[in-house]
Symmetry: C2
């Protein structure tokens, strides 16, 4: 047998062979199981839909990197989903508009994009998420963070940490406690993004300098942030963060980076990023947001579990029962019913050991090899 | 909340909302579970790959109806998979070329196509399949048929029937027992396809007329076929069919339509189609084939389970425990560990009954509503 050049996959795409596929399915089922146990119902939107529909529900969703094509039926542009969150937003706003709130929905599926970027060469990811539609309060956000962490734990993640941010921090402060001139707001945001103290001062944001030092382990950082908040403009935000942090105590290490905005283009007051030991990059991201079109408040999380799947050890093969040619089919069926995994000979050359069997059926009973 | 025109999905695509999504996931997990118990390992190929790779592994796979686009990285054409079988064939022939034979692999995933056709308006389907690579004998084919039927049974299909065919029947007969002139073979095939007795006679295929009457319930039809087989050209085929039919006795009604070729463009000696009561159209199709490129013998089945999913009754909601605001989170976690599904209040307006709860947590214990 030969490998032809055509057998190579395009860059950024890959097969998961049995060991990796088993881990992927286990992570997917474990995460969905946790979400189900917290009351989240799975929905299954299609692989592709109108480009305008995918782009219209959320700020910061660009269709530029999506696989797009002209629908021969409607002559409109269809795009392959690169993120399932806008699809779930669409469902919440339309087909499930009349469902009682808060509405809890979850999803799992492959998403894809036309081109890779420098940070991640992958063009397909397994996305798993949960959305709590109808509330963006601290209780809702805290539930989402707790469910996300429990889902990752169930999937085998270890040493989970979560980094909180306040995406609208500068808006809040500049409106009240630390006024900025209209032309300065964007510059101050930019310098906070790069954490450049000199630049921040030059941009007229000297009052914002202490924010650069309000990051790190949650308890210390939140105290520093509270100390800055002289006018009380952030009081409800700070109280909310403390409430969310309390929800996940003992399940994850919590840090605060209140000025982090990257990746939170459509979040409102709260955003978070999930990490785990031994997994490169973020495992998930979420927060509070408003669904485009209806402006309904929501809290949600998207987990990108490929890194976690890759980090897991190969599952150990369980017991496998070899069924010789002309075995008793009824007996084999009964043994599968008892939990046995079987592998049947289809010719007299089939070899139990090379096929990975641990037992062989002899006289109606499994005998260890 | 309003429904915008953009929220409508392209024709042939749809969302599965909670009740339907639960049935889809249940069917998928049940079918994969059956395949796993018979020794099939799941593989997860990507959503898309090079067009040549999807088309090259199997006769009869046309890329005309696939979603295709130019890969900006390689400048080659990538296609969205419209069938996962060629992907599994590629894996068997390359990455798993050295794995022991017979190789048992299974898969489940969404497949899509650019345009619908008259018979089926859907542009996305959930495909679940099993391939036994390394054998196309009656034992292998029989296992595939039996596993497919068990997978559909586990998914809730009732009144399953399976229709057998012999895709190379005319080749075999015309080569030996019932010779035809070279120019006649195609015409005879065509008339057999349309089951047109007059046309068959006109095409010079009078000897083939009895084949038109060798269809129907398996036992009678196979006897008729055997009676035609004067020269014994079909003896091994007939013996193989009997062996496969015996495998599924009691699990499915078996019929024979030996001249049916439609949908069996890449099958070799054996093909079959699966049906279930209350489900329109075929639920699956399979048979014996050879993997393109390596020409390795294989037996396999593809199940298209959307019709089955649509036919299932809505799952009954199980017990759901409402957790009031400021409930004991540890206690809730313990109850989920015992199997409870919970739904937590995120505001004091959240109503247990409208959220579908059957119980409410009071004093640390679930109390029926």
């Amino acid at each position: 047998m030969k490998t032809q050049p055509d057998d190579l996959l395009p860059i950024g795409l890959r097969d998961r062979l049995p060991a990796a596929a088993a881990n992927a399915s286990a992570v997917e089922q474990a995460a969905l199981g946790v979400m189900h146990s917290h009351g989240y119902d799975r929905v299954r939107p299609p692989l592709m839909e109108f480009e305008t529909s995918l782009a219209g529900r959320m700020d910061g969703v660009s269709t530029r990197r999506m696989v797009r094509f002209t629908d021969p039926a409607s002559l409109r542009t269809i795009a392959l989903r690169s993120d399932m969150t806008p699809q779930v937003g669409r469902i919440a706003a339309t087909a499930m508009a009349e469902a009682p709130r808060p509405l809890r929905v979850c999803y799992a599926g492959d998403v894809a994009r036309l081109a890779a970027d420098q940070l991640s060469p992958e063009r397909q990811s397994l996305q798993i998420g949960a959305e709590l539609v109808g509330s963006d309060g601290a209780a809702a956000a805290g539930e989402i963070v707790a469910v996300a962490i429990a889902a990752l734990e169930a999937g085998g993640a270890q040493g989970i940490s979560v980094d909180f941010t306040l995406p609208d921090l500068v808006d809040i402060l500049s409106a009240k406690a630390l006024p900025l001139e209209a032309g300065q707001v964007d510059a101050v945001r930019r310098e906070l993004d790069t954490k450049d103290a000199g630049g921040l001062r030059d941009a007229g944001g000297a009052d914002y300098l202490p924010l650069l030092y309000s990051s790190g382990p949650f308890e210390e950082a939140i105290d520093k942030l509270a100390a800055i908040d002289a006018g009380g403009a952030l009081a409800s935000r700070i109280e909310g963060l403390r409430q969310i942090a309390a929800r996940v105590e003992g399940h994850a290490r919590v840090t605060l980076d209140p000025t982090e905005r990257h990746g939170f283009e459509y979040q409102t007051w709260f955003g978070f990023t999930l990490y785990a030991e031994g997994v490169r990059g973020a495992l998930g991201r979420g927060g509070t947001y408003r669904i485009g079109g209806t402006d309904e408040a929501a809290s949600g999380v998207s987990l990108y579990v490929d890194g976690l799947i890759d980090s897991l050890p190969e599952a150990v093969n369980g017991k496998v029962l070899f069924l010789p040619l002309s075995h008793d089919a009824m007996r084999a069926e009964a043994l599968r019913g008892e939990g046995w995994r079987t592998v049947a000979a289809v010719s007299d050359q089939d070899d139990a050991t090379s096929l990975g069997a641990s037992h062989v059926l002899q006289g109606g009973a499994p005998v260890a090899l």
